[in-house]
């Protein structure tokens, strides 16, 4: 197996961060366009965060996304305008606003998910990653590391 120096490791991770990550986002964005979905990737990320957040209040969603609540408010405003989400005050605590996904949003997420699924399949096939289990395990660790 090829031996990687720390220097090369740094270079590869740097590449992933500044080039590959942006490229994947661009590909995903193009896919949305092709499918006639008029949403930016940030908007899709907001929808994903709503779906994945246990109690989807403004604060909780913003925290998950790593943006301020104010930023999220403007994002939700446009998603509401476009008919992707609904928002209502929590009757238990009327300071809170609970955000929900409308069917239109579920469709987009399903579409986006299956695109992701295909992308990952094609990565594993074309990369001839025999050790893909180990890759996923490593990525999982990487992911956990940064979540702490």
């Amino acid at each position: 197996m090829k031996k990687y120096s720390r220097e090369e490791a740094r270079k590869i991770i740097n590449e992933l961060l500044v080039e590959i990550f942006n490229r994947i986002l661009a590909i995903e964005g193009q896919n949305l366009k092709d499918k006639g979905i008029k949403l930016s990737m940030s908007e899709v990320h907001v929808l994903e965060a709503i779906e994945l957040t246990e109690e989807p209040t403004m604060s909780n969603i913003a925290k998950r996304l790593g943006i301020t609540i104010g930023s999220l408010t403007t994002a939700i405003n446009t998603l509401y305008q476009k008919g992707y989400v609904l928002r209502e005050r929590d009757p238990e605590d009327r300071r809170k606003v609970v955000v929900g996904l409308l069917p239109k949003a579920e469709d987009v997420l399903k579409e986006h998910d299956s695109f992701h699924e295909e992308m990952i399949d094609s990565i594993f096939e074309e990369m001839e990653l025999e050790k893909d289990e180990l890759l996923i395990e490593s990525l999982d660790k990487l992911s956990s590391y940064f979540k702490k």
Copy 2:
């Protein structure tokens, strides 16, 4: 070893894409702030691209960054104002503009590089990634895959 389903693999990669990379970018941005460097991450990426591009003309740099030449022009305008880069017409082909890094920019890149180095070291140490060679190999393949 834990067995990962394709579903879990997708979830982990998705997490990396939408959460972890943004978090790393935020951490790097914070580091710049802490060091008193008044540049955004996008500006640092432009500097990196200039450094890494063989013939650093506007077109070549923009291509590497995956942005339009117009966008790069505005980015270079402010970097020039701030004293990080110089720009001059190519005497061979006066349509071209060649961009160069000033010492101030080299310093920032050095700073940023060493931060990266430390981050990677700490990842490998704290994650107890015995199989880090394989992780890097896999990331390398991943990176190559998306560069095609």
